[in-house]
């Protein structure tokens, strides 16, 4: 059998389920992940799926990590649950030496299909299901629960915790509950009677989860929109963002109906395209409602004309962009952080837009709610920059919090009373020196405060003008407004190395968990790095000072063209030599191993042959 010693690890390994799309495996796999969590052991699961509905391969990878490393681990699979004959060869090849292969052994397989250095665990799943169930659909679904049962024995999991989860899931549906528990024990009992249990990989109860919650970023962002007071959502379906609008719909159904009349305190429209969805958002926001749309790269491309209008006519808009690998259709079900330039400078002419970069679902919730305050305060477009990795995967994060005393910041809106007091209303008049003018809402006053909103140039009182000086005055004020935004958006978070260091690293968004883990790996290699996690654009002044304080700063991001680095260089006038790009862009989530290797190699080179210190 195996020449390699079987892997042995407690609470630190990667299980990968290889399934067929549409076979009902997703809920069983999620049940596995949640069951590990109930043992007090953190997990980080990821869906790996093609742009397809049924029949194609799909994977679910669960990183079991008592240490709490929630980024993807990379480097192969420790336990492969190979349920898809289509991908068998690739799946078997992906197992680390000494790892385990779990498969359905009902039909004999030629020995050439296995590997010498992998431990094979065969369970006759089809035979067990066929002898127990006659209905084909039941056979399909319970097969998933049966393998889960077998795994629980192999990994020495507490079956009571799984039963408890099933009980919660099928509360009030006793028949489903008992049949699922039965299937679980079918698999578990078979494994206990016929296999050596446990294997080298084991789940042991720990207390490392705490009060953390487990949810997808898209769901969290949708909930943030509910809490942030969004009343209008216009959207067009596009992977990986559709589940934001769907989750918003579900939350609103539960939380936003008038208890007496049953009427809705929201309006959701599935538009005919992204041009219409952003048009509706702009129209609703112009008229004083909090409105948002949700999209991905190709949708942003279609929206750019309206984004320019929002910028220039100064109309609030919230766009949630769940990024996927571009350009063009790109890889619709793969993750990247590749729309920073497309969003930060979207539209023709001189434009700049606010972007928020949440690191996980908890921040997605907070930033989604904050984006409505920012959009109305700044009267401009605010992008919530999610990505597929945060958006479509369940992530362990701190519980969601809301301050019940919090009021919405509706920004500078001149009311009928203010107009009657004789306040001077100039729609584009900078009364406070922050670049932010007052606006009025349609229908406010019979004779005062109306104006004509347009994308063409106009003076401070919204009167059409193509005078050069008037135009320049306006666009300079817009720049001033953007500077004001710097101090309103979430600030970067800095974490310094234990010892003083000349090197720093900048990162953002979904890279965060891999970065945290990479710091540990780098420290083990003797490299100390100060960290700065950027959370918004425009950049706070601390970004420039962080760069100034270090000889070299690594900029870690998930795109080919170092888009964050470009923005930092452009916006702060920083010498590009100071910023070393660390780029990951194959569509898989970035890993700590990748970051540590790239930075470590660069650090080693600096230490071997010192570079002449860059002139800055």
């Amino acid at each position: 059998m195996s020449q390699q010693a079987p892997l042995s690890s407690v609470n630190d390994f990667v299980v990968r389920f290889a399934n067929v799309n549409g076979s009902g495996s997703a809920s069983a796999n999620e049940l596995f992940a949640r069951a590990v969590l109930r043992h007090g052991v953190p997990v980080s699961p990821r869906n790996i799926f093609p742009s397809n509905i049924q029949g194609l391969p799909t994977w679910y990878e669960v990183r079991v990590t008592e240490a709490g490393h929630l980024g993807a681990r990379g480097g192969g699979t420790d336990l492969m649950v190979a349920m898809n004959p289509q991908t068998w060869d690739k799946d078997v090849a992906g197992i680390v030496p000494g790892g385990y292969l779990f498969y359905d052994s009902t039909k004999p397989m030629p020995s050439t299909k296995f590997r010498e250095d992998v431990n094979v665990i065969g369970v006759p799943l089809t035979a067990i299901t066929n002898s127990t169930y006659s209905d084909p659909r039941q056979r399909q679904l319970f097969k998933n629960i049966i393998y889960l049962g077998a795994l629980s024995a192999l990994l020495e999991m507490d079956p009571k915790l799984i039963e408890q989860l099933i009980g919660e899931q099928y509360k009030g549906k006793e028949k489903l509950l008992s049949s699922n528990v039965h299937a679980l024990h079918l698999g578990r009992d078979w494994a206990l009677q016929n296999l050596k249990c446990p294997i080298g990989l084991r789940i042991r109860k720990a207390d490392k989860v705490g009060d953390r919650i487990f949810l997808e970023g898209n769901n969290a962002a949708a909930l943030g929109a509910v809490y942030g007071g969004a009343t209008v959502c216009a959207w067009y379906p596009i992977t990986p963002s559709s589940s934001v609008a769907e989750a918003f719909t579900n939350h609103c159904k539960k939380l936003r109906h008038d208890p007496e009349t049953g009427q809705a305190k929201y309006a959701i429209v599935q538009a005919e395209d992204e041009l219409a969805s952003i048009g509706m958002v702009v129209g609703a926001s112009w008229n004083g409602a909090r409105a948002f749309t949700t999209t991905s790269g190709p949708g942003v491309s279609l929206m750019t004309e309206f984004i320019g209008l929002s910028y220039f006519a100064e109309i609030p808009a919230v766009i949630m962009n769940v990024q996927r690998a571009g350009p063009s259709t790109g890889m619709p079900t793969r993750t990247q952080q590749c729309d920073l330039i497309a969003c930060g400078y979207a539209s023709h002419g001189d434009t700049k837009h606010v972007m928020l970069f949440p690191e996980d679902p908890a921040e997605a919730f907070e930033f989604a709610a904050a984006s409505f305050d920012l959009a109305e305060r700044l009267q401009t477009t605010v992008f919530l920059m999610l990505d597929l990795d945060i958006g479509m995967n369940q992530r362990l994060c701190r519980p969601l919090k809301w301050d019940d005393a919090r009021q919405y910041d509706r920004g500078k809106v001149m009311t009928a009373e203010m107009l009657d007091e004789g306040r001077d209303f100039g729609r584009y008049l900078d009364v406070d020196g922050d670049g932010i003018p007052f606006r009025t809402l349609p229908g406010t006053h019979p004779t005062k405060g109306s104006y004509f909103t347009r994308g063409t140039s106009r003076d401070r009182y919204a009167r059409y003008s193509e005078e050069g000086a008037v135009y320049a005055d306006n666009v300079q004020r817009l720049l001033r407004k953007f500077q004001t935004a710097q101090d309103m958006v979430p600030r970067p978070l800095q974490a310094n190395a234990a010892k003083p260091t000349k090197y720093g690293v900048i990162y953002f968004g979904s890279t965060a968990p891999a970065m945290d883990e990479a710091i540990e790996l780098l420290e083990a290699r003797g490299h100390q790095l100060d960290r700065l996690r950027i959370r918004a654009f425009p950049f706070h002044s601390s970004v420039a000072s962080f760069v100034a304080e270090h000889d070299f700063v690594y900029v870690v991001e998930q795109n080919r063209d170092a888009q964050l680095r470009q923005l930092i260089v452009t916006e702060n006038g920083i010498d590009p030599v100071r910023l070393v790009p660390i780029l990951h862009y194959d569509g898989t989530p970035i890993t700590a191993r990748f970051i540590a290797e790239a930075i470590g190699t660069h650090q080693d080179q600096i230490k071997v042959t010192p570079l002449r210190k860059a002139v800055s």
């Binding site: 009060d211 953390r212 919650i213 487990f214 949810l215 509910v226 809490y227 007071g229 009343t231 209008v232 216009a234 939380l255 936003r256 008038d258 009349t261 009427q263 809705a264 305190k265 309006a267 959701i268 429209v269 538009a271 005919e272 041009l275 219409a276 048009g279 509706m280 958002v281 702009v282 129209g283 609703a284 926001s285 112009w286 008229n287 004083g288 409602a289 409105a291 309206f306 209008l309 519980p399 969601l400 919090k401 809301w402 019940d404 919405y408 009025t440 809402l441 349609p442 229908g443 006053h445 019979p446 004779t447 109306s450 104006y451 004509f452 909103t453 347009r454 009167r463 059409y464 003008s465």
Partner: protein, 351 residues
């Protein structure tokens, strides 16, 4: 030029409406369109209609796209908020604005390039959603601002000012609006204010998607021989099926014609439309019949005008979405935010 304001002076004896406003209170800035432009006549008809209905000017939101027609909201209802949006995208902006505040009157102004070419999709979808609006297309068959290119409503075989013959088939927006479920559909001619004003009044009082196609000759680029959108051509080929009077409040119905030829249609809001039939066979409640009638007459080279279809019991997007009566833009944190207690339960369900 559009910043030129009209003098505020009013003749003391000027006619006032029920709210005490005169025509002047419904005017906007001085038009910068070409002298004699059909669009200015439509502007005048909109002013007249709003005056006659005694609408508070600031309770109207004027939304347009881009083009000559889309500039006109600056020339009427100066006390209303206006929004000159993006080319072809007025319908989506209007839809969003309407969702935010159901209490205002939404007047969408567009052109044939704006609605039949670049914005054909948005036109179609706003109509099929039943947005409560008055959607006016000022239809001249050409792109005026870019100097006379054909638009998608130009008839096949019609000639441009430069002598080019249009070989593409035209889009009939009225026919499309009927097919997509508009609940108030009319066509008129900018040169026939008597017909147009009550049609606009009826549309404003209509609760649902009201669409009005107004043939509006372009004096600069489409008023020559060979054009099918010139003043002369439209006058010669205009086939009006009815004449409309809009009766509001408790006005007694005075009909000076044979009662058999008058049809009273009561709309949802209590307003009544008195239709004087000019074509005895025409039934404005018959969507299918209207479509057939239009096709038949179009084939004969006639431009059918009048109130072509009305569903007095129409509903709108807000009723489809079952939204609260209070405008969404007036809901506050207390109405919208479920608070920490609900969040605690959500957190608990995610462990």
């Amino acid at each position: 030029m559009t910043y030129i304001a009209k003098p505020k002076f009013q003749h003391p004896g000027i006619k006032k409406n029920a709210l005490g406003y005169s025509h002047r209170d419904y005017e906007g800035k001085i038009s910068t369109l070409c002298a004699g432009c059909g669009h200015d006549s439509i502007t005048a008809s909109i002013i007249e209609a709003c005056f006659e209905l005694s609408i508070e000017p600031h309770r109207v939101a004027k939304i347009s796209g881009i083009g000559c027609s889309s500039k006109t909201p600056d020339y009427f209802l100066g006390n209303s908020h206006g929004f000159n949006t993006v080319h072809g995208r007025m319908p989506s902006v209007l839809t969003g604005a309407n969702l935010a505040n159901r209490e205002l009157i939404y007047l969408g102004v567009s052109g044939d390039g704006d609605s039949a070419s670049i914005g054909f999709g948005q036109f179609a979808h706003a109509i099929r959603r039943g947005v409560n609006m008055t959607y006016i297309v000022e239809n001249n068959g050409v792109y005026g601002l870019t100097k006379g290119q054909f638009s998608a409503t130009a008839d096949r075989g019609s000639k441009s000012k430069k002598g080019v013959t249009n070989t593409d088939n035209p889009i009939d927006l009225v026919g499309i609006a009927l097919q997509l479920g508009a609940t108030y559909v009319a066509r008129s001619f900018s040169g026939d204010k008597k017909q147009l004003v009550p049609i606009i009044e009826g549309a404003i009082r209509h609760k649902g998607a009201a669409f009005i196609d107004v043939i509006s000759p372009c004096i600069a680029f489409n008023n020559h021989a060979g054009s099918t959108k010139s003043f002369d051509y439209v006058r010669e080929h205009n086939d009006a099926v009815n004449r409309l009077d809009v009766l509001t409040g408790r006005d007694p119905i005075e009909i000076d014609q044979d009662p058999g030829t008058v049809q009273i249609v009561e709309q949802h809001d209590g307003s009544r439309l008195a239709l004087r039939k000019l074509d005895a066979d025409y039934d404005p409640h018959d969507r299918l019949g209207a479509m057939t009638f239009l096709q038949k007459h179009s084939a004969q080279g006639q431009i059918v005008t009048g109130l072509l279809y009305v569903d007095p019991e129409a509903d709108d997007l807000h009723s489809h979405l079952n939204t609260v009566e209070r405008p969404l833009n007036r809901l506050e944190a207390a109405d919208l935010c479920p608070g920490q207690s609900v969040l605690d339960k959500i957190n608990a369900s995610l462990r």
